[in-house]
């Protein structure tokens, strides 16, 4: 700003102090949380990348040497391409299912629940408080070989007489879908709730049938919720290992299981290489997805 000289010097000075003070307050407010994330999120990631390049022959006790072992990556991908693909496929199916069943629920809560709205919302969140693991064990019971679901499926001919549901991809995907459904419903709810109801009425007024009104107005305007919900569902499912561990067997291992097993076995460089690959793949997919959905504003 090329200010006029002497006479206005004082006022120009004062006018710039206020924004500068505000700027430093902004930093101050941000600082504690930012430091936390820097120390316990960014640094670990850097450490993870470093570990992924360590000499795979080292151990925790003996220490690791940085040998830039890119081989860790090629090896990891060679050995674990199958769980990788399976992890992404299962997570993808679970995400689509979550969207398909989560959208009507969110829609019903916003537009149809009336005075029950808050209660229904609470019911969506309530199972959270019963541990994730306890609920997954309950699914195990529901899908058990001698359980009600399997016998019904057998009667309907959906499952062979000696077939089972547990230890199948079906069970793992069902578990993932169930466990991450609230992560889909909540963002959808938020974006539908924010939507101006008059817009839908306006669409009706302009001769849109309810279905057209939904397709042309409601759905596009709830896109931020759809994007947020699919991300919050897909990302944790892609890295999950609990569902596959409890509801599947060794034929349903996902990449999360592989990473977990490797870490437990103490093969840190290999486990890190797998983790970094998973993270990188997810970030690339998310970036492409957000770009295509045109909701960069989401961040």
């Amino acid at each position: 700003m090329s200010g006029p000289a002497a006479s206005t010097a004082t006022s120009t000075e004062t006018s710039t102090t206020t924004p500068r003070k505000r700027r430093s307050i902004g930093w101050l407010l941000l600082l504690p949380g930012a430091l936390w994330l820097a120390a316990f999120f960014v640094t670990p990631l850097v450490q993870l990348v470093a570990t992924s390049l360590y000499d795979p022959n080292g151990s925790v006790e003996a220490g690791y040497a940085m040998t830039w072992s890119w081989g860790n990556y090629t090896e990891a991908l060679d050995f674990y391409s199958e769980p990788f693909i399976r992890g992404f496929v299962y997570a993808g199916i679970a995400t689509v299912l979550c969207l398909l069943i989560g959208y009507p629920l969110a829609y019903a809560i916003v537009f149809k629940a009336g005075r029950w709205k808050n209660l229904m919302l609470v019911l969506v969140i309530a199972p959270f408080f019963t541990s994730f693991l306890v609920r997954t064990l309950a699914w195990k019971l529901i899908l058990a070989d001698n359980g009600f679901v399997v016998s019904t499926f057998k009667t309907l001919g959906l499952v062979d007489d000696d077939g089972r549901l547990l230890a199948t991809g079906f069970a793992v995907v069902a578990g993932l879908t169930y466990n991450f459904l609230p992560f889909m419903v909540l963002p959808l709810y938020a974006s539908l709730e924010r939507l101006d109801h008059r817009l839908i009425e306006a669409a009706g007024d302009l001769y849109a049938s309810p279905a057209q009104g939904f397709r042309k107005v409601t759905l596009p305007l709830s896109m931020p919720g759809v994007v947020a919900g699919t991300l919050l569902t897909f990302i944790p499912s892609a890295g999950d290992f609990i569902n596959s561990q409890l509801l599947g067997d060794t034929n349903q291992t996902m990449i999360g299981n592989s990473i977990q097993t490797l870490f437990e076995a103490g093969s840190y460089p290999a486990a890190s290489a797998l983790s970094v690959t998973l993270m990188a793949l997810i970030i690339v997919m998310v970036a492409i997805y957000i770009r295509r959905a045109g909701t960069e504003e989401l961040l």
Partner: protein, 387 residues
């Protein structure tokens, strides 16, 4: 409810009757956003107790100006004085100025009663119930004291916003398009209401609007603002009858502007050559002394005479009617002059003479005391079609 200025605590104001003591004065006030000057070296004095309207098209800097007066925006340059005291750098809560916001900004979590009591409580007043009750009855909302803002209609919310500001007995009340969100009927009703309240309390009102009709019916003084500067200030009548810029001529009502030259002076009149026709305009209505000018005549000041009819006023020569539109109380004619320009003429349907038809030949006349002459350097279309 009357506002008793004597008990205003602390801020004693010696002699409200001394002329200019409570005036609001803006001195070369400037606000730049980056390189863009939203308000550009604006000078303005609002007399104490006035109903003052700031009129201008969207984006011309009206809100920015108000915000600087309220202390919500820091000026890039210039000063704000109230009753001679420099308040340019005072915090908003240190100024005896209150605002009715463009979007009302009522506190959604507080009842109407608490919204209105807010300012008094912040000033440490303990006896809020009496004044709040009085204020709510002034705006006829006694029965709504316990409700939340979301449970009121637009017009009612607007009145709460007004009550919430007025109860603090400010020296200046700033109103930023307070009627913008209301429908036409309610708007007219609230205009009268606001005027009544202002006369009752005697507080200086600075009313921002881009509705010229609203400004003209309500204000004693109007400042027309454009692109960050005041184009002209004066009474509604003065602005309309004797605009000093093409922007004001076009923005307030409509004007015919004809390319002309000053050809000389004759006593109190200036002689202007308008496309060959010599016309005489009183000198106080002429903004420039020589050279090229715009000769302005409002459409309702144009008289279309049958050719050859005797006359004493000015004549622009003959023209042909190209369009006639009948609008009930009046008829609007569009005529094409000999030099090709089309001019508007409005005529009251008094019935004294028959309505003319398209293609009729007429003589275009006007009274010099109703015309005005503007600097030719300005754009003749400035302010047209802006609202």
């Amino acid at each position: 409810m009357t506002l008793d200025t004597t008990d205003a605590d602390g801020a004693a104001d010696p002699g409200t009757d001394v002329a200019g003591a409570g005036d609001l004065e803006l001195r070369s006030l400037t606000k730049r956003f980056g390189d863009y000057a939203a308000v550009n070296s604006l000078d303005l004095t609002v007399p104490a107790g006035a109903f003052f309207a700031l009129l201008g098209p969207s984006g011309c800097g009206k809100t920015t100006t108000l915000r600087m007066v309220a202390g919500l925006e820091v000026p890039s340059d210039g000063e704000v004085l109230l009753g001679g005291v420099d308040i340019t750098w005072a915090k908003p809560y240190k100024r005896p100025v209150n605002t009715v916001f463009q979007s009302y900004a009522l506190f959604p979590h507080l009842t109407i009663h608490e919204n209105v009591a807010f300012g008094l409580r912040r000033q440490g007043r303990s006896d809020v119930n009496g004044p709040v009750g009085d204020m709510l009855s002034l705006v006829e909302l006694e029965d709504f004291a316990g409700r939340k803002p979301a449970q009121l209609s637009g017009g009612q919310q607007q009145r709460v916003a007004l009550a919430r500001a007025l109860i603090n007995e400010p020296k200046v009340l700033l109103l930023d398009e307070p009627l913008g969100a209301l429908d036409l009927k309610l708007r007219r009703q609230m205009q009268l209401e606001l005027k009544r309240i202002q006369l009752g309390v005697g507080v200086t009102f600075v009313h921002v609007t881009h509705d010229q009709e609203e400004a003209m019916t309500m204000a004693d003084t109007i400042a027309v603002m454009n692109a960050g500067v005041i184009e002209q200030m004066g009474s509604p009548n003065e602005l309309y009858e004797n605009p000093r810029t093409t922007f004001v001529a076009n923005f307030l009502g409509q004007s015919n502007l004809v390319d002309a030259d000053i050809s000389g002076r004759d006593g109190d009149d200036v002689v202007v050559d308008a496309q060959g026709a010599k016309v005489r305009i009183p000198a106080d209505r002429v903004q420039v002394n020589d050279g090229k000018v715009w000769l302005g005549v409002r459409p309702e000041k144009v008289f279309l005479a049958s050719t050859g009819e005797p006359h004493t006023g000015n004549s622009l020569g003959t023209a042909r009617i190209v369009d006639v539109s009948f609008v009930g109380v009046s008829t609007q004619y569009l005529v094409r002059m000999g030099w090709g320009q089309e001019l508007m003429a409005f005529e009251q349907n008094t019935g004294a003479r028959p309505i003319m038809r398209s293609a009729d030949e007429v003589e275009v006349r006007f009274n010099g005391a109703h015309a005005f002459v503007l600097d030719h350097a300005q754009d003749a279309r400035a302010g047209v079609d802006e609202d």
